[in-house]
């Protein structure tokens, strides 16, 4: 039985681990931004006028939410390669994460859109605002402000889920951890250190989101109250 925990050995690999953490952050932020765009587009499709677009977006959301991320990653990386589309691991990882988080974002943003009272739309229409202006200035800003906490949680979960991309050898934190633990034979210590690193990254992401929220939602910054 191994009583002695040796953290020094894996900690000595901190430069590698730091690079891994940076890659995780890079993957997550990229996927967050792109996934947000995709999710908003889908939410608009689902609440919009075209029934066909709504159905298509709905099918996409259900397909993603009812299948594991790991399988989605394999389909995008190995599956596409076998039909001739060869992607690098980072690209495939980002794609899979974007497609995945886009579906969850769509559901959250859709709830936000549906929470804007019809009377707001009426008032905007009576001011002669066109459809696009109503969406851009009257519906989406309060909708997204209202679901910002839910979105923040979702993107932190995304960052944690990025660990799964280690399974296609993306050089993010978990993949580096696997290498370090096999080099040092200190598996438990390595993974404990990395778990702590993920906790720190979660905190960092939450702070980042709070910051973006303060800039994007001046009302919230000034008044401090929820919409």
């Amino acid at each position: 039985m191994r009583y002695d925990l040796d953290f020094a050995a894996p900690l000595a690999h901190w430069p590698e681990l730091l690079v891994g953490a940076a890659t995780t952050l890079g993957l997550s932020v990229t996927a967050t931004v792109l996934g947000f765009g995709l999710g908003v587009a889908c939410a608009l499709a689902r609440t919009g006028r075209s029934a066909a677009a709504a159905r298509a977006a709905g099918a996409y959301v259900e397909a993603i939410r009812n299948t594991p991320l790991l399988v989605q990653i394999f389909i995008i990386y190995f599956g596409l390669a076998s039909v001739g589309i060869k992607l690098g691991v980072f690209t495939a990882a980002v794609m899979a994460l974007v497609v995945n988080v886009g579906a969850y974002t769509a559901e959250i943003v859709r709830a936000g859109i549906e929470s804007v009272p019809r009377s707001q739309l009426e008032a905007a229409q009576c001011l002669a605002l066109g459809r696009w202006h109503v969406l851009r200035h009257v519906v989406l800003p309060p909708a997204i402000e209202r679901v910002w906490p839910a979105l923040t949680s979702q993107y932190v979960l995304l960052m944690l889920a990025s660990s799964i991309t280690s399974q296609i050898s993306t050089e993010e934190l978990t993949a580096i951890a696997n290498r370090v633990q096999s080099d040092t034979f200190r598996s438990v210590e390595t993974y404990l250190i990395v778990a702590a690193a993920y906790l720190l990254l979660s905190l960092l992401m939450r702070v980042l989101f709070w910051g973006v929220g303060s800039v994007a939602f001046p009302r919230r910054r000034r008044l401090g109250t929820p919409l």
């Binding site: 790991l70 389909i75 390669a81 944690l160 889920a161 993974y191 993920y198």
Partner: protein
Amino acid sequence: MTVLTHQQLLFLLRGFGWTIVLSLLAFAGGGVLGFVLALTRVYAARPLRTLAMLYIKLIQGTPLLILLFLTYFGLPALGLIVDPLVAAAFGLSVYVSAYLGEIWRGSLEAVPRTQEEAALCLALNWRQRLAHVILPQAVKIATPPTVGFMVQIVKNTSLASAIGFVEMVRAGQMINNATFRPFIVFVLIAALYFALCYPLSVWSRRLERQFDVAHR
């Protein structure tokens, strides 16, 4: 296009069976621990409540894959010889316990305070209040999100493949190594997951709607 051989298909379905078994094990293990956590967070003394909260926050802030690696390497370090199934079931149970604990804590706290008061004023002791007044109502509130979370459990069993347990994804990887038809294999696997998860998702949404109507 080569279709999978009979044997390969059976192998995949065996993996599918193990996916279901692992899901049930994780739900059972995680459910028991989660229930204890929920009760602790609502009824126990402050230090225990804080401990439970820290446990939940820690587990929820760790990627499941890391948790699985920790159990896979950690349990043997404690002198226990574990096979992938046990490690996977253990790791998943810990993961599930944190999430179910939170969901069920919310459900307990959602039972109106007035119910507890009424039961108290009828001279029921704590165990009786819990068993006959609080829990029956909490269970009703907890059912939609719990069913919804079962979908997460099923999907998360896919990560057990990373520690060598032969559930559906691992089976798929092995078949892929023999056939080199990843697109067909993994799309088929996705379809099988969908067949398992989609009904649960629909059921969860229906339960939520029924619950909303009943409580308007």
